[in-house]
């Protein structure tokens, strides 16, 4: 009996298989699916509490904001058709486009916009991911279905940029949460948005997101029917999948594989200058800060910092670690922001020169010890060198830095640390010496500049270096309210110079943005520094006939 049952099962499976094959073969009206591979995954699809770039990639496709950055770098209207602001810059009035509907078919109104903005203003803790964009906002109102009025307490120099990050959510999804914790824990696996694609499933375990094109998208529906995002644990496997055609597009091709991908048939590898940078963080928390930092005091010596800067061969890092897919970095505002407008071009980078590094330390009184480690007044130049464990590049960077530092009489011990632990160890505990980490700055320099301000060095804040400079803090506030672009540029150049000279960060490189897609299947991608996965590009993509 038993064995017969087993046989029946086998037959059943075979039948299922055969029918599956049959289905795959027939039917000419197959939906057009663009299969995207990446090595990351969104942390959550809840815009209130999403921090990873991957989440924002999905939000960009499924939600809409009042404004959006065009591929040219300019800000244009998205939900908003047009807008004006009062002469004092404190009142902004937006008129919405027509025919906007939620993915569930409900009509979209100005009050939804007002609700979202007011929710963020009211609960900055719950909406931690976006609350910095509503700084200086007093209130949003919806006098009618098509008009939104936002009032500010001080003028804001980058209003359009800020609004491009505030994704308008469907109020019924979010009204139910009464505490910040409840809101943060909401996973929002099937968001209701107004964007060109609608998430139909998000399986975190399998790392799969399926998005259907939303036919009623207000700027015109996409030309493809579906996008799937598949998370790969291993980039080799992802590249292989692209090669054999299992996937159609790859976000974040690893540097070490880019040359290989360029050689694939029917695959277009896309490289654009990017703004992601990596830096060496030097613990800059003042000794009198509460809680007191735990660091090697030698790091407070500007000469030690200068020597460290001399002992880093940035070009080698770019060549070896980035496989030459990037450029040497110097300031915290990458050249790509605002088409190069904000980057300070006058900064002269510290050259790689080990004998200079040794000379600087020698002069500063650090004497070479018998074990090859320099020492002054009992303080040895021996530092922890930590990096987040989720980055594939940093072990190599740490390894190379350690080798160079050794030549200068500086001993570093690399250690890979889980990013969450690393963060909690740094901010605000200040328990570290040197850390390698990186940033993906926003298109406007405001965010990356805020990272260096004193008041960000609190639990949950963005500062990790503990850099505290009242003059810098004041300049940061000034640039926020300076509406004149040239004046704002001058302030921002000054700020970059301060960070460069004080060296809480030694910026190592700016990474190129690396993408690839099957050119035999899809066409129409817009290749820009924003990546080919942004919604502007996805709206243009169509299958190759």
């Amino acid at each position: 009996m038993k064995s017969r049952k087993w046989l029946v099962q086998v037959i059943l499976i075979a039948a299922v298989l055969l029918s599956a094959c049959g289905q795959a073969g027939g039917g000419s009206q197959e939906p057009v699916v663009l299969k995207v591979g990446w090595t990351g995954a969104p942390d959550t699809l809840n815009p209130a509490y999403a921090f990873l770039t991957e989440s924002f990639t999905i939000f960009d496709l499924t939600y809409s904001a009042l404004t959006t950055q065009a591929v040219s770098g300019e800000y244009v209207g998205s939900l908003a058709k047009e807008w004006t602001h009062s002469d004092d810059g404190l009142t902004w009035t937006f008129t919405l486009k027509d025919n906007i509907t939620w993915h569930n078919g409900e009509p979209f109104t100005a009050s939804d916009v007002a609700w979202t903005i007011n929710a963020i203003i009211a609960d900055p803790d719950g909406w931690a991911a976006v609350s910095n964009y509503t700084a200086n906002f007093v209130e949003a109102a919806a006098p009618d279905d098509k008009t939104v009025v936002i009032t500010l307490d001080t003028p804001v120099g980058n209003m359009e940029y800020r609004l491009s990050w505030i994704y308008i959510v469907y109020p019924p999804d979010f009204e139910v949460f009464t505490t910040p914790e409840d809101l943060q824990n909401f996973t929002n696996d099937t968001p209701t948005g107004t964007g060109p694609f609608k998430v139909t499933s998000f399986d975190k375990d399998l790392g799969v997101i399926v998005m259907d094109a939303y036919a009623d998208y207000f700027d015109g529906a996409a030309k493809i029917d579906q996008i799937t995002f598949q998370t790969f644990d291993n980039s080799d496997a992802m590249i292989q999948a692209l090669k054999v055609g299992d996937i159609d597009m790859v976000i974040d091709v690893p540097q070490s594989a880019f040359a290989t991908v360029e050689g694939f048939e029917n695959v277009k590898a896309v490289k654009t200058a990017g703004s992601y940078f990596s830096e060496l963080i030097i613990n800059s928390v003042p000794e009198d800060f509460d809680p007191a930092p735990n660091k090697n005091p030698a790091l407070d010596d500007p000469q030690v910092r200068l020597a460290i800067a001399h002992a880093i061969n940035k070009q080698d890092l770019v060549d070896a670690v980035l496989q030459n897919l990037g450029v040497v970095g110097d300031t915290i505002v990458p050249p790509q922001l605002g088409g190069g407008f904000w980057h300070n071009p006058n900064i002269q980078d510290i050259p790689f020169d080990l004998s200079k590094a040794n000379a600087v330390l020698e002069q500063a009184g650090y004497v070479m010890g018998a074990d090859g480690v320099r020492e002054k007044d009992g303080v040895r130049l021996e530092f922890r060198l930590q990096f987040p464990s989720d980055n594939p590049l940093y072990p190599r960077v740490a390894d190379m830095l350690t080798a160079w530092f050794k030549e200068a009489g500086i001993k570093t011990t690399p250690e890979s640390v889980d990013p969450d632990s690393l963060y909690s160890q740094m901010t605000p505990a200040g328990n570290y010496d040197l850390v390698i980490w990186g940033w993906g700055p926003d298109p406007d320099p405001d965010f990356i500049l805020s990272v260096m301000t004193s008041d960000q060095f609190v639990d949950g804040g963005w500062s990790d270096s503990g850099y505290m400079n009242p003059e810098y803090d004041q300049l940061y506030l000034d640039q926020q309210v300076t509406v004149d672009k040239a004046a704002r540029q001058a302030i921002i150049w000054k700020m970059q110079e301060m960070v460069f000279n004080d060296r809480p960060y030694i910026v190592l490189w700016y990474e190129d943005l690396l993408r690839a897609y099957r050119s035999d299947r899809f066409t129409g991608f817009i290749e820009s520094p924003l990546g080919i996965e942004i919604h502007h590009s996805m709206l243009q993509v169509e299958p190759v006939q």
Partner: protein, 325 residues
């Protein structure tokens, strides 16, 4: 009678081992610096001090480690509550269960193939001792022993993907992700070839060696001579008299090997990004997701202990001689 004593002994031993594992797991967990509350609720969620205190009380973290906390932990583990993964923000048990099937599939296939091939080859080698077959088999098993698992995986991955166009990772193609595995069998098979081959090559050598020495020992026994004297052919003797006796050590080996198989799975799943427990173990290690790591360890250890116990029971059915001794 005898069998009962034997089983009681084995049950007792399994329980002792289990206790060691559980205590070890508990201690390692407590040794970790940092706040255990985080381990319970996950890391990224910011919660108020009041909520933290409430949780502290709820999980008994304000009470002494021994015996209160230990017993609490024990009770939770017994109910399958292994805490919350820091990186996935999901209950560890849920995550583990989702991956268990895939790993069992891989390990199972690898074990079955390596047992069949290893036993057959070992039989041949031991029977035809000192012939070319034997020397070849011995050489193979020696090298298989010396090869690092992950490196063999890398080599097969490089060779298989370059020359045979086999997939380099995952369990199904991206287009089939999320579908039940039995509906996409050809794809699954395609993906399983390289990892299974890696495991098979690795374990085959060991089974072969054991089978070879086992069959050689058995063939030296007097009852084999008796069987031959009865007029049986070599093949008949081998099949009817030698095989079962020689297979007995293999049963024990399979059980003992499960521990090593799990190790193999960690390497192979890592190399082939195969979505199973082993891969997850490695990910948890890299992400330093301790609740996940320790939950996985507990699950793996308990499974191996259980499998050993089952093998012991199986042994009593195969070997009529089992005595309390």
């Amino acid at each position: 009678m005898n069998r009962r004593d034997y089983l009681l002994r084995k049950i007792f031993f399994s329980l002792v081992t289990l206790a060691v594992v559980v205590v070890l797991n508990f201690l390692l967990f407590r040794v970790l610096p940092g706040d255990p509350v985080r381990a319970v609720i996950g890391r990224n969620v910011r919660i108020s001090a009041d909520t933290q205190q409430a949780l502290r009380e709820q999980f008994g973290l304000d009470r002494p480690v021994f015996p209160d906390q230990f017993l609490t932990a024990l009770g939770q583990w017994a109910r399958g509550n292994l805490g919350v993964s820091w990186s996935l923000r999901k209950p560890v048990s849920e995550v583990l269960l989702a991956k268990l099937g895939n790993t069992l599939l891989l390990i199972g296939l690898g074990q079955i193939l390596s047992i069949i091939l290893g036993v057959a080859l070992g039989l041949l080698a031991g029977w035809k001792r000192k012939t070319a077959v034997d020397v070849g088999a011995l050489t193979f098993s020696l090298i298989a022993w010396a090869i690092p698992t992950f490196w063999l995986g890398i080599i097969l991955l490089a060779a298989g993907s370059t020359w045979l166009g086999l997939p380099t990772g995952g369990i199904v193609s991206p287009s089939n992700v999320g579908k039940p595995l039995y509906t996409v069998l050809p794809d699954v098979t395609h993906h399983l070839i390289l990892p299974t081959l890696t495991l098979t090559i690795l374990y085959m050598g060991e089974y072969m060696l054991i089978m070879r020495s086992s069959i050689m020992e058995v063939l030296g026994e007097d009852y084999i001579l008796t069987a031959k004297a009865k007029g049986m052919s070599h093949w008949q003797v081998l099949r009817k008299h030698a095989l079962k006796n020689a297979m007995l050590p293999i049963v024990t080996l399979i059980a003992i090997n499960l521990g090593f198989t799990v190790s193999g799975a960690i390497y192979v799943e890592t190399v082939f990004s195969y979505d199973g427990l082993g891969k997850m173990f490695q990910t948890a290690l890299v992400k330093q997701d301790y609740p996940l790591l320790q939950g996985a360890f507990l699950l793996l250890a308990v499974s191996v202990i259980l499998a050993n116990f089952l093998a012991d029971i199986l042994y009593t059915y195969l070997d009529p001689r089992v005595k309390a001794s």
